[in-house]
C-alpha cells in the first residue's frame, strides 16, 4: 500500500523467538549472580536462592489464572450499562 508497509525486524517470528530466548538467558544470568552478590535480606526469607525470580514468576502466573477465573464471574457485554 504505502511506504509504511515495509517489513520490520520484529515482523519476523524468528526474531521474536530470539528476543524470548535472550530474556531467558538474561533471567538465568541474574539468578546466577545470586552466588556473587552479597544479600541484605529485607524480610526473613528473601535471602533464599532464587526467591525473587521464583516469586515473580509464580505471582504472575497465579495472577493471570485467577484473573481468568474472575472473568467468568464479572464479564458482561460491552453495552451492559447502556441498555436501559
Amino acid at each position: 500500500m504505502n511506504a509504511d508497509d515495509k517489513r520490520y525486524w520484529l515482523d519476523d517470528p524468528r526474531n521474536v523467538t530470539t528476543v524470548y530466548r535472550g530474556l531467558w538467558a538474561f533471567g538465568i544470568a541474574l539468578l546466577l549472580l545470586d552466588f556473587v552478590v552479597h544479600r541484605h535480606a529485607e524480610a526473613d526469607f528473601d535471602g533464599v536462592f532464587g526467591f525473587y525470580g521464583v516469586y515473580g514468576f509464580v505471582a504472575c502466573v497465579a495472577l493471570v489464572l485467577a484473573a481468568k477465573l474472575l472473568r467468568r464471574g464479572v464479564m458482561r457485554p460491552e453495552d451492559y450499562y447502556d441498555d436501559r
Partner: protein
C-alpha cells in the same frame, strides 16, 4: 501580604477563569504561563510561611508552607504545566480552563492550614474536575461525570461534618495530625478515603477517568487522588488500619487490570494499585514510610501522566484505546511508544527509573517493621503492576499482532510534554537525592545497593518471562470487548433498578392517591354545597333570639375554659 505570599493556587485558578475571556490565540500561552508563575511563587515562598485571614469569626490559614505541602505544591504545579503543554491544541470548550482551575484548587488545598479552607478547595477540585469529565461531550461521559461528582461531593460533605465535629471537640479548625480516636477522625478518614479510592469507595476512579477526553484523563490522573494522599499523610500518619487497607488496594485492582480491554481503564486500576503503596507508607508512619509515600506520590504523578499521555496520543490518532483494536502501533508512533515504555519502566520500578527509588522505601519500611505478610502482598502487587501496566499497556497498544492501523505520530506539543515527563522520570530514578531533599522527614535510605538492584531485576525479568510463557502457550486471556462488573454494579445496576422500582411504586401510589383525592374533593364539594349553598343550613336567615342564645353558650364555654 506580598504577591509571593498570595496562595499559588489562586494564580492558577485566576488563569483558568480568565482563559475563556482572552482571545483564542492567547489561551494556550496564558495556560502555559500560569504554572510557571505559580512555580516562581512557590520558589519565592519564605520557609515556614503563614498567611492568615479573619473570616466568619475564625482565623483561616490560607497558606501554611512546610515540606509536606511544598512537595505536593511543586509536583501539582509541574503537572499543571505538563497538562497545559499536552493540551495546547485544545482551545475551545471548558476542558482546559476547568483543568487549570482544578489544578489551582488542588494546589491551594495542599497549602490550606485549616479544615475550612481545605473544604472550600476540596469542593472546588470536585466541581472543576467533573467539568473536565463532561467536556468530553458524550452521553457516557455525562453519566460518568455525574456519578463522579455525586461521590466527590459526598467526600466534601463528610469533610465538612468532620471539620465541624473537630471544632466542637478541640475548639480549633487547624489541620494537623487528627488520628482515628474520635468521631471527627472517623468522618475525616472516610472523606479522605473516598479521594484515595479505598476499597469499595474506589469505583468513581475506574468509572470516570477513562470516559474523559484524550487530554482530560491526563489532567484527572494527577490531582484528586494525590490530594487525598496528602490529606491522609497530614492527618493520619501512623494509623495502623491504613496498612491493611493499603495492602488490599495494591492487590485487588490488578486482577481487574489483567482482564480489562480499555487500556486507559487498565491504567485507572493501576492508579488504584499505586495509591495502595502510598496508603501503606502513611499507615506505617515511620520516617521512611511517610517519606516513601510522598516520594511515590511525586513519582506516580509523573509516570502516570506519561502513561495516560501516551494512551491519549493513541486515542487522538486512532480513535480508540481498546486492546482488541490496537497492536503494532510502534511502526506509526515510535516516539510515543518509546515514551510509553519509559513510563512503564518507571511504574514497574526498574532500576534507573523513578519507581525504583520511591516504592522501595515503603516496602523496605514494611519489612523493617515486621509486616511480613503485607510485604509479600506488596511484592506480589509489584510483580503484578509490571505485568499489567509495565507490559500489557505497551505490548497491546504498540506491539502484539499488527492491527494494520497506520496513522501519524503524535503532534509535536504532545511529544514535548511526554519527553519532559519521561526526562523527569529518569531524572528522579538516576538522581534520587534531588527528590529526597524535598521530602518532609529526614531521609536515611540508599536505593542503589547491588542487592536491591539484583532483587528487583530478578523479580521483573521473571515476571516478564511468565508473561511471555503465558502468551506463547496461549494461556494468557485474550483481550475481549467487554465490561467487567466491579463495585459500581451495586449503584449502576442494583441501585438503578431499586430507584426505578421505587419510582414506579411512587407513580402507582400517586395515581391511586390522586383518584382518592379527586373523589374526596368531589364529596367535600357536595357537602359544602349542602351546608353553605343557597338553601344550606348556614345560609338561612337566623332569628335574633337564636343568635343571643348561641352567643350566651359561647361565653359560657369561655368561662368554663378559663376556670378549668
Amino acid at each position: 501580604m506580598t504577591i509571593a505570599e498570595l496562595p499559588a493556587g489562586l494564580t492558577l485558578i485566576a488563569a483558568g477563569l480568565a482563559a475563556p475571556l482572552v482571545p483564542r490565540a492567547w489561551r494556550g500561552a496564558l495556560l502555559l504561563a500560569a504554572p510557571l508563575a505559580a512555580f516562581a511563587q512557590l520558589l519565592a515562598l519564605p520557609a515556614a510561611a503563614h498567611v492568615a485571614v479573619e473570616a466568619f469569626g475564625v482565623t483561616l490559614q490560607l497558606v501554611r508552607a512546610d515540606k509536606l505541602s511544598l512537595a505536593f505544591g511543586y509536583i501539582f504545579v509541574i503537572a499543571a504545566f505538563l497538562n497545559a503543554l499536552y493540551g495546547w491544541h485544545v482551545r475551545d470548550g471548558a476542558e482546559q480552563p476547568a483543568a487549570m482551575v482544578y489544578a489551582g484548587a488542588a494546589v491551594a488545598a495542599v497549602f490550606a492550614g485549616d479544615l475550612l479552607t481545605l473544604f472550600v478547595f476540596w469542593e472546588l477540585t470536585a466541581v472543576a474536575s467533573a467539568v473536565v469529565v463532561w467536556a468530553q461531550g458524550s452521553k457516557r461521559a455525562y453519566g460518568a461525570g455525574l456519578r463522579y461528582l455525586v461521590i466527590q461531593l459526598a467526600s466534601g460533605m463528610l469533610l465538612a461534618a468532620g471539620a465541624v465535629l473537630r471544632y466542637a471537640e478541640t475548639g480549633s479548625l487547624a489541620f494537623d495530625l487528627v488520628g482515628l480516636g474520635t468521631p471527627a477522625g472517623a468522618l475525616l478518614l472516610l472523606a479522605f478515603g473516598i479521594k484515595c479510592a479505598f476499597p469499595l469507595l474506589h469505583n468513581w476512579l475506574q468509572d470516570a477517568y477513562p470516559e474523559a477526553s484524550a487530554t482530560g484523563t491526563v489532567v484527572l490522573s494527577a490531582f484528586t487522588t494525590k490530594l487525598g494522599i496528602y490529606a491522609l499523610a497530614r492527618g493520619f500518619a501512623g494509623t495502623e488500619m491504613l496498612i491493611w487497607i493499603g495492602t488490599l488496594m495494591t492487590a485487588f485492582p490488578i486482577f481487574y487490570a489483567v482482564i480489562e480491554n480499555d487500556l486507559r481503564r487498565v491504567l485507572a486500576y493501576s492508579v488504584n494499585n499505586q495509591l495502595g503503596f502510598m496508603v501503606v507508607g502513611i499507615g506505617l508512619g515511620t520516617d521512611l514510610g511517610v517519606n516513601g509515600a510522598v516520594a511515590h506520590a511525586f513519582a506516580d504523578i509523573l509516570f502516570k501522566a506519561l502513561l495516560f499521555m501516551s494512551m491519549g496520543a493513541v486515542l487522538l490518532r486512532t480513535g480508540t484505546v481498546k486492546g482488541t483494536d490496537l497492536g503494532g502501533l510502534y511502526k506509526s508512533m515510535p516516539w510515543t511508544a518509546g515514551f510509553c515504555i519509559v513510563g512503564a519502566a518507571s511504574i514497574s520500578a526498574f532500576p534507573l527509573f523513578s519507581g525504583f527509588v520511591t516504592k522501595s522505601m515503603i516496602m523496605f519500611s514494611a519489612a523493617q517493621q515486621g509486616y511480613a505478610w503485607e510485604w509479600l502482598v506488596l511484592l506480589f502487587a509489584s510483580a503484578g503492576v509490571f505485568h499489567h501496566a509495565g507490559i500489557k499497556i505497551p505490548f497491546f497498544a504498540f506491539f502484539a499482532h499488527d492491527a494494520g492501523i497506520r496513522c501519524k505520530e503524535a503532534p509535536g506539543h504532545m511529544l514535548a510534554a511526554m519527553a519532559l515527563a519521561a526526562l523527569l522520570c529518569i531524572g528522579i530514578g538516576t538522581f534520587p537525592a534531588a527528590l529526597y531533599a524535598l521530602l518532609p522527614r529526614a531521609v536515611d535510605y540508599t536505593p542503589y545497593t547491588a542487592s536491591h538492584v539484583l532483587s528487583q531485576l530478578q523479580l521483573l525479568v521473571f515476571s516478564a518471562l511468565a508473561f511471555s510463557v503465558l502468551m506463547r502457550t496461549g494461556i494468557y486471556p485474550p483481550e475481549k470487548r467487554s465490561v467487567n462488573l466491579d463495585f459500581d454494579w451495586t449503584y449502576r445496576r442494583v441501585g438503578a433498578r431499586l430507584a426505578a422500582g421505587a419510582a414506579t411504586a411512587l407513580a402507582m401510589f400517586n395515581a391511586a392517591a390522586g383518584a382518592g383525592l379527586r373523589a374526596g374533593v368531589r364529596r367535600a364539594g357536595g357537602w359544602l354545597q349542602a351546608v353553605h349553598g343557597a338553601d344550606g343550613v348556614l345560609a338561612r336567615t337566623w332569628s335574633t333570639g337564636g343568635m343571643a342564645l348561641w352567643v350566651a353558650l359561647m361565653l359560657a364555654g369561655y368561662l368554663l375554659v378559663v376556670y378549668l
